[in-house]
Subunit: 259 residues, 2 copies
């Protein structure tokens, strides 16, 4: 095995490739692992476990959703501070020198060559894997839809956030709006459209790469991370959200048939 | 070397990877080669050399442009009838059973497994290569822009076409409109916006995959193939179009600086 292949294997994990449900789940900020190749970016252990390094609870929630939806799941295996897979390579946010209230010393004076190395080792293999999973399912007639699973911090720049579930869309809002209506009908979650982030904040890069050009339904879901901190919370949240996703997709199918 | 790697190498060619101009050129319909793996799809030699199998002259023009623009060039190495790289895998046009006035017997009763095999062998490696070339250049700060180079038949369903140069855009029309103005000021070509095809005809898939989500300037150019049939015509056309592309890009840069 070459070094390049090792890098590619390290950049992502694919679970449920044989699953035949329509949902493909992605989790760009699944991990706060700092592989030895990239070092710790000068961050201490508390910073490396904070929300700036990953989306706490997102991977557990994504796995719990995948089990209920018979979904494939692709997730990152390294911290977003090494490369934020939900940003294109030229974005300052791809390798941020500062994230919320934290400095990231290892990203402060990053060279073009280092940006290239991280892009090739992390961004390209992750997104090639997502592209391949979606293209394969499209070729087979499985009509995939894409859901990206994220979490956000309950306190941001010192201010508490009331929103519990953010439902965010890229160019096509159909699945997002249907899902939001199902969530509001079925749960007591404080769910809001395009909060606490929206496409204007660059957070729909994965949707824009993999769903919009393929013409497939898609939505990004953002959970406040205090609601999915434990495995039990993640399972309970998936029990609420999986039926809402299924119902939202069914509603889209009805609209398509009526059109 | 594995079979998969052989397939991937066969799916595209990259020329000028070391070129450091801003333009990245793509040519999805460069070839009318039918690799032995896929057979001739039941087509006779005249059909395999007709415009349904490829865009005659497009690769020669793209190479002539690349030389003048210090551009990288990625092009297909197999006929579009095996897989039309400018279409997503679920599109009937990706492996068309009929193209203009020709039946394509080998695509008539294509199975999901065969669609998957062509998608994995042709679509995925070609587009992974384009993604990688653009991402690498973005990481290095080279500010790439994407131009896809195509040709169209002078007679379509028996009707002659007057348009000589089609300038087609995806979501962002900036480079297309600037290029069209430069062409009209500099040449006597009958150049038109979004003719003979437009995004509504699915022809901007490559732009939608590789330029729109990255926020980079892009345009598709379509030449009537009787104008670029010979090497001499391709060189002469590149002499006209390369300065117009350069001037259009410079005009965009002025707009960005003024903003």
């Amino acid at each position: 095995m070459t070094d390049l292949q090792q890098d590619q294997e390290a950049a992502y994990a694919l679970e449920g490739a044989a699953a035949r449900g329509r949902f493909v789940l992605c989790c760009e900020h699944a991990s706060n692992h700092f592989p030895a190749r990239w070092g710790d970016l000068g961050l201490d252990a508390p910073a490396r476990s904070a929300h700036i390094a990953w989306d706490p609870g997102a991977l557990g929630l994504a796995r719990a959703l995948a089990a209920r939806l018979e979904a494939a799941l692709i997730h990152a295996t390294a911290s977003r501070l090494i490369y934020d897979l939900n940003r294109p390579p030229q974005s300052p946010g791809a390798m941020p020198a500062r994230s919320e209230i934290y400095d990231v010393p290892g990203n402060r004076a990053i060279t073009p060559e280092a940006r290239l190395a991280r892009t090739e080792a992390l961004y390209l293999p992750y997104h090639a894997a997502v592209s391949a999973e979606i293209a394969r399912r499209l070729a087979l007639g499985l009509r995939p839809v894409l859901v990206t699973v994220h979490s956000f911090t309950p306190v941001y720049f010192g201010r508490p956030r009331a929103v519990e579930l953010g439902v965010i869309h890229d160019a096509d809002p159909a699945l997002a709006t249907a899902f939001l209506e199902e969530v509001r009908a079925r749960t007591s979650l404080d769910a809001r459209l395009n909060e606490p982030y929206s496409a204007a904040d660059e957070v729909t890069h994965a949707l824009a790469l993999h769903a919009t050009p393929m013409g497939i339904a898609n939505v990004m879901i953002e959970l406040r991370n205090d609601l999915i901190a434990t495995a039990a919370q993640q399972e309970a949240m998936a029990d609420q959200l999986a039926p809402a996703l299924t119902a939202a997709l069914a509603r889209l199918a009805e609209t398509e048939e009526a059109a």
